[in-house]
């Protein structure tokens, strides 16, 4: 039996069910629609596990599920050396979102990371503390800014309503997920022209540390064939 972890609620779950259904595999909730139990029709040896989307990377890394669907942003944020721990089987074509660096639209002088770095240096001098960037994607943001040579900033944690932090004076800039950009605009923010950290979508991953013995690898090969995916090389 292969365990497949899928987000337990909302649009992400629905789109995920649709994606599998289009390939002949029916995933559905069993029992009442409030109960987190699932069933699978159309393929042998697959069990559905409903999980919070944010926990799927951890469950994959622990090998407690064989397969999982989650956003590539969340997975890369949560799993250091992600390539060594999961195999990326497919992009599912939904859940598109960009993780971007955004600053107040009124910052006419700031359009690039180069500008942000210079503004951060001047800001630190004027205010006595580093320029604060609110985010919940600490690792991805830090790696990105470090690679670009931005200094004199600090990350402040924001688990929600991140676009409001600048107006509320708890941050000077943000690094957050956006799909249409409308929330950013509504909060008087603009995306830096070279501020795309990661283009994310929902993806299907296989867990390297999961137990693949006992005929589970052929089972995965069959599943991939059914889904129209190339056989996984691991």
């Amino acid at each position: 039996m292969l365990k497949l972890g899928v987000p337990s609620k909302g649009r992400l779950m629905d789109r995920c069910f649709d994606w599998f259904a289009a390939r002949g595999i029916t995933l559905r909730l069993s029992g009442s629609d409030r109960e987190y139990a699932g069933a699978v029709d159309g393929v042998e040896g697959l069990a559905l596990v409903l999980l919070s989307a944010g926990e799927i990377p951890r469950e994959l890394a622990a090998g407690r599920i064989h397969l999982g669907v989650t956003g590539s942003d969340v997975l890369r944020e949560k799993l250091v050396h992600w390539q060594a721990r999961v195999v990326d089987l497919a992009g599912l074509g939904f859940g598109h979102a960009d993780l971007v660096v955004a600053v107040p639209a009124c910052w006419r002088d700031v359009d690039t990371l180069d500008d942000l770095d210079a503004a951060a240096a001047a800001f630190r001098k004027a205010h006595g503390h580093r320029l604060r960037i609110a985010t919940k994607y600490h690792r991805l943001t830090r790696d990105f800014l470090q690679g670009a040579g931005v200094a004199d900033y600090q990350l402040v944690d924001s688990q929600g309503a991140t676009e409001g932090t600048v107006k509320n004076l708890t941050a000077e800039a943000i690094a957050d997920i956006t799909s249409s950009g409308e929330t950013l605009i509504a909060n008087h923010l603009k995306i830096l022209s070279d501020g795309l950290i990661h283009h994310s979508q929902a993806r299907l991953y296989a867990a390297r540390p999961a137990d693949w013995s006992g005929g589970r690898k052929p089972l995965l090969a069959d599943l991939c064939a059914t889904l129209g995916l190339p056989p996984p090389a691991f």
């Binding site: 639209a105 006419r108 470090q146």
Partner: protein
């Protein structure tokens, strides 16, 4: 990898030589307040240090080094001059290199002395060289002070010098800025457009309301700075070439000194720092260090933590996969940052005893 007992054994032998050299043994808390470290190193330290939280004191870090707590301790109530030594674990996350230890001993020696910095540099280096002598390590040295003075001496805007000084520890970004300031690469298109519209008096419509802590005055002042930068002539090709020659300089110390003195004829700003290096080499010689064979690389230390501002050194094993067995340098500016107005010239370094134990097998060192 040697066990902790072997590492501690090697550390205690080294510590005894540090104490014999006159250093007072000091301890530092393992839990350090995160704000000091974050303010000093920036966000990068969060990727390197273990962060935890105290219900009352807030964010704390497992000691990523001893230098900061030892400097803070000295600046608070140290007598002068002072020599300190210490032994204990430091903790560093190894996100990129999972084969490296996240918890390891450091044994260190720090000198706070106004009297004669060159002599103090030589004292620390010679002590480390003697402690590590049986291991036949390669020593590399450099001098961040020479690089800093070369940048200070450029014929260009102070704002450009400040940006270059700020990024001396980020070589890629440093080169990017230097290329821009010397006219090798054009300014970003959006900046050119902004400056053109400001010049034409048709400031681009900014319909967005002002939000955030960064004030309109700060925005205006940066635009003025961008205008001044655009109007300033580029750093000359000659100066740029001299700076590159300096950054690329790598030779045995006597030859390096001769080349630096030659460079100082065109870059007079580096002369005092070069003469300090000459004084240091004499002091090293008096300490019995074979300076004729001592490697000097002008860019040495540019990728380490950004507090060294003078002499820097490290000791390396033949295996390039191993981290430096020992490293250190001068950090005068750090004492000013942590001393709240007071400062004192300081130099020191650390040895990783686990690596010493590995390399020396069972032989004592």
């Amino acid at each position: 990898m040697a066990g902790k007992a072997a590492a501690r054994g090697a550390a205690e032998r080294i510590l005894a030589t540090f104490q014999a050299a006159g250093a007072a043994l000091v301890e530092a808390e393992i839990l350090q307040p995160a704000d000091t470290l974050l303010d000093l190193y920036g966000e990068d330290i969060r990727a390197r240090a273990y962060v935890t939280s105290d219900p009352l004191k807030g964010e704390m870090m497992l000691r990523p080094d001893f230098t900061v707590p030892v400097v803070k301790m000295h600046m608070a109530d140290g007598a002068e001059p002072a020599r300190y030594c210490y032994l204990g674990e430091v903790f560093r996350k190894q996100e990129r290199r999972s084969d490296r230890q996240a918890e390891f001993f450091q044994v260190g020696y720090e000198v706070f002395d106004r009297e004669n910095p060159s002599r103090a540099d030589a004292e620390v280096f010679a002590l480390f060289a003697a402690s590590l002598a049986p291991l036949n390590l390669r020593a590399a040295t450099g001098d961040i002070g020479i690089l800093l003075s070369a940048i200070h001496g450029l014929t260009t805007l102070e704002s450009r010098k400040a940006a270059l000084l700020r990024h001396i520890w980020r070589p890629r970004r440093f080169t990017q800025l230097l290329d821009r300031y010397s006219g090798r690469t054009p300014m970003p298109e959006t900046r050119a457009a902004l400056l053109a519209s400001v010049k034409a008096g048709v400031a681009p419509a900014c319909t967005a309301p002002h939000i955030g802590l960064r004030s309109q005055a700060e925005i205006a002042s940066r635009i003025s700075a961008l205008q001044a930068d655009a109007a300033a002539p580029p750093i000359s090709a000659e100066e740029r070439a001299l700076l590159q020659d300096l950054l690329d300089l790598s030779a045995k110390s006597p030859a390096a000194l001769a080349q630096l003195r030659e460079l100082a004829r065109s870059l007079p700003a580096i002369r005092p720092a070069v003469e300090r290096m000459a004084a240091r080499l004499e002091a090293l010689d008096r300490h019995g260090v074979n300076v004729g064979e001592l490697d000097f690389e002008a860019s040495h230390g540019r990728t380490t933590l950004e507090y060294y501002d003078g002499f820097v050194f490290s000791f390396h094993a033949a295996d390039p996969g191993l981290p430096p067995i020992a490293s250190g340098g001068r950090y005068d500016a750090l004492t000013r940052v942590l001393g709240q107005g007071r400062s004192i010239p300081a130099v020191g370094g650390v040895i990783r005893p686990a690596l010493v134990a590995d390399l020396s097998g069972d032989a004592s060192c």
